[in-house]
């Protein structure tokens, strides 16, 4: 595989694009051609819409797409997590049924893992799936589900056995989100946005063929999904920007991206917007304050060294080396950066830091920063969980004694809502 010549691959994809790419095509039809030719996801298996090419060559192929402005397969949102999970754990029937419509963008997916009673302790899920010999019946509640309101399919982690230890009693399903037993409600956040949903299941149905992996093996399957989540976060930044070109297919793609990206408009603010700090300190005349200068310097140093730490993780990943502790360290560093940035923005703004909307600094942007930053140290794994991971897996400190080892039925848990 390693001796595949990049130039030959580039020539091949260029020729294929020359023969087929047309910005006046219908988006779904074009993506169908991509799926069938294998050029949409060339690193996937040849049997399933790919070309068995090494991931290292994808960059070159993408460059050829960019050179002619060709639109790629649908990539943003949860769909690629679903695809990766099904490629690894799904049956051929799953792959045949779902993968192509993931790539064309016809189906939107969501992830149904977190619950009101199980956040950091994901394996404590109490949403239940019961099998009556013909089909599964699902009851319970999920939380923090992005895109659930326009998803066709959900990746569901549900408890199927209450008499075994908690990690062994979970199963993984693909559930139809459009059925009557599924109710989706938006959750309004402290910053005013509603980027996530809560999902209620009242006797929702799942046919037996929609089980992914074995009954009781849901935790392992979910781990695959989560392992792809960080990479998906990278992809969100990369693929979440719409082309500005003119043409029917671009219009369709822009609409799709706007729809998928809508929940994320405040995401830049939750990082603390370090990029604004020095400029605003200067513009407001606050740069002369020695106390502020110390805090601003702390912020800029922290932000820069976090970036270098992340660079090291990327370099390791690209070189095929294990990522090492940098992933969890980077996540933790981001929390520190965001908090320090919020403190600096507050100090720069003075009493104006109390004001929101049009009365607030930068037309409310500073207020949005202050009210979005608290998400950083929670979303995607709380700081406390990251600290545990670092302490146990990197430093080799002993695990905390656990009280949840027996049958799940007997494990103390939150009261049902």
């Amino acid at each position: 595989m390693s001796d595949i010549d990049e130039r030959a691959v580039r020539a091949e994809v260029r020729a294929w694009l020359e023969a087929h790419w047309d910005p006046q095509r219908d988006l779904v039809a074009w993506r169908g051609m991509l799926a069938d030719s294998g050029w949409g996801v060339p690193h996937w298996p040849r049997a399933w819409f790919g070309r068995d090419l090494p991931v290292a060559l994808c960059g070159a192929i993408e460059a050829e797409f960019e050179a002619v402005g060709a639109v790629g397969v649908a990539r943003i949102g949860i769909r690629m997590l679903a695809a990766a999970t099904l490629l690894e754990h799904g049956t051929d029937a799953h792959k045949a049924r779902f993968l192509r419509r993931i790539l064309t963008g016809e189906d939107t997916w969501c992830q149904l893992f977190s619950e009101p009673g199980s956040g950091s302790d994901l394996a404590g899920a109490t949403t239940r799936a019961d099998f009556d010999g013909a089909q599964w019946t699902v009851n319970g509640q999920k939380l923090w589900t992005t895109s659930a309101h326009h998803a066709e399919w959900g990746l569901l982690l549900a408890r199927t056995d209450w008499d075994v230890p908690k990690h062994q009693g979970l199963s993984y399903f693909v559930i139809d989100m459009t059925q009557p037993g599924v109710t989706v409600q938006p959750v309004k956040q402290m910053n005013g946005y509603a980027s996530f949903n809560q999902v209620f299941f009242d006797d929702a149905r799942v046919p037996p063929e929609n089980l992914v992996g074995a009954v009781g093996a849901g935790w392992q399957v979910a781990m695959t999904t989560l392992a792809h989540e960080r990479r998906n976060a990278d992809a969100l930044r990369r693929w979440g920007e719409a082309s500005t070109r003119a043409g029917r297919i671009y219009d369709e793609e822009r609409a799709e991206i706007a729809n998928v990206m809508a929940p994320y408009t405040w995401y830049p603010q939750r990082t603390g917007r370090v990029d604004l700090a020095l400029k605003r300190a200067r513009e407001t005349g606050r740069l002369a304050d020695p106390a502020l200068r110390q805090e601003l310097a702390r912020l800029l140093m922290l932000s820069r060294s976090s970036e270098w730490l992340a660079q090291r993780a990327r370099t390791a990943r690209e070189a095929g080396r294990p990522e090492g502790p940098e992933g969890s360290l980077g996540k933790l560093a981001a929390s520190h950066v965001a908090r320090q940035a919020a403190a600096v923005h507050t100090a720069i703004s003075g009493a104006d830091a109390m004001l929101a909307g049009a009365d607030g600094p930068l037309d409310g942007l500073i207020a949005e920063i202050l009210l979005s930053v608290p998400a950083t140290s929670i979303a995607g794994g709380t700081d406390e969980i990251q600290l545990n991971i670092i302490a146990e897996r990197v430093l080799g400190l002993p695990r905390e004694p656990r009280l949840d080892g027996g049958p799940f039925r007997d494990v103390p848990r939150n009261p049902e809502r």
Partner: protein
């Protein structure tokens, strides 16, 4: 720019670490720090004969190995990790870099080969009062006396100032107050009129001295007017080197803490299984890794001669100082009562961190300088 290490650099680090592990265990450190001299000539000679450490960054033509700031950094990091008592910072970093930046080629050829081989040691004397804002703080005067110069005044906090064979002194032409009047002068350690007094330092593994100059004969180095710039570059080099040393010390402290937390049993379980302790350790690792990123990046920037390498030097020193202080503070805390005893080794690194965090400017000083430099660049 990148700051990953080549396999040769990793190997170099490994060799030094093994060497110091065998030659400078803490028993030896304790013995040396109690001695009159404060550093061990036999260890110093082996470091230089076997590993060529003092000349690692000195050009081959001047008797060194011709490597760069990253190799110098690796050496400093490992010396800090082992807390080796040798005049490395004073002679191989401060004096050597001052000569590299401030002396003419002939002057360098006359002195550097002996410093690079470790046959002679030197130091740099620049501080006079407890705070440093720049060359304006220099009062020690130099006056011409026929073919030579004579120095009058006092320098303090001179690293290894008692034992150095040569002292590079930063002085000012009498009666002038501009930066162009700042020059570097070479003084023999045994010169008449030079009175050297040891200062009692918290960190017994690195000695400080006060030097009194009473009409001491000196050789002026370099070209007139170049002293201030040479000093500035030297202090930045030294800040990056010392930041490496602090990172090495912090690493040693963190490893000792983690090891102790794994073994120490209380309430029927290792204390390292309590989140109060494990989160402390994980937070220290984060702070240390962030500091290391800055430190390694700063060395790479100095090697590349990047425009922002002065700001990076300050960032590295600020972050490494704070990381080392945090590791030192928490190492004692994690060790509990035993950590406060003389027999336990933690205090050796605590004292090194406490002093090295202040030497060459503390974290707040470097943050201010970093911001001032960044502000101009932005």
């Amino acid at each position: 720019m990148h700051y990953s290490f080549t396999s040769e650099q990793a190997q170099f680090r490994d060799v030094i670490r093994r060497f110091l592990g065998a030659q400078s265990p803490t028993v030896a450190v304790r013995q040396t720090m109690g001695s009159a001299r404060g550093w061990e000539p036999a260890l110093w000679q082996r470091l230089n004969d076997d590993l060529g450490l003092a000349g690692i960054h000195v050009p081959e033509a001047l008797g060194g190995s011709g490597f760069g700031h990253q190799e110098l950094g690796i050496a400093c990091e490992e010396l800090g990790r082992a807390l080796a008592c040798v005049p490395y910072l004073s002679s191989a970093v401060l004096a050597t870099q001052a000569l590299r930046h401030g002396a003419t080629p002939d002057e360098q050829a006359a002195l550097l080969p002996r410093l690079a081989s470790g046959r002679a040691t030197a130091t740099l004397a620049w501080m006079e009062g407890p705070h440093w804002s720049g060359c304006e703080d220099i009062a020690l005067g130099a006056r011409r006396d026929g073919d030579t110069w004579r120095l009058d005044g006092c320098k303090r906090y001179v690293v290894d100032g008692i034992t150095a064979d040569h002292v590079v002194v930063v002085a000012r032409d009498d009666g002038r107050d501009d930066d162009a009047s700042i020059g570097l002068y070479l003084v023999d350690g045994e010169a008449s009129g030079l009175r050297r007094r040891a200062l009692a330092s918290i960190d017994e593994t690195r000695r400080l001295a006060e030097l009194d100059f009473d009409g001491v004969t000196a050789q002026r180095l370099g070209h007139p007017g170049s002293g201030a710039a040479a000093l500035a570059r030297t202090l930045d080099d030294a800040a990056v080197a010392l930041a490496h040393e602090l990172a090495g010390a912090a690493q040693a402290l963190l490893e000792a803490s983690v090891e102790y937390a794994r073994l120490r049993m209380q309430f029927g379980r290792p204390i390292g299984s309590f989140q109060a302790i494990k989160h402390k350790c994980a937070n220290l690792l984060l702070e240390l890794e962030l500091a290391k990123a800055a430190v390694y990046f700063a060395a790479a920037a100095r090697e590349a001669g990047d425009a922002d390498s002065a700001a990076l030097a300050s960032q590295a020193k600020a972050q490494a100082s704070e990381a080392a202080l945090a590791c030192a503070r928490e190492a004692i805390q994690i060790h509990g009562g035993i950590g406060f005893t003389w027999d336990q080794d933690t205090h050796l690194w605590f004292k090194r961190a406490t002093c090295a965090a202040v030497l060459l400017g503390d974290a707040a000083w470097h943050r201010e300088r970093f911001l001032a430099l960044t502000e101009v660049a932005a």
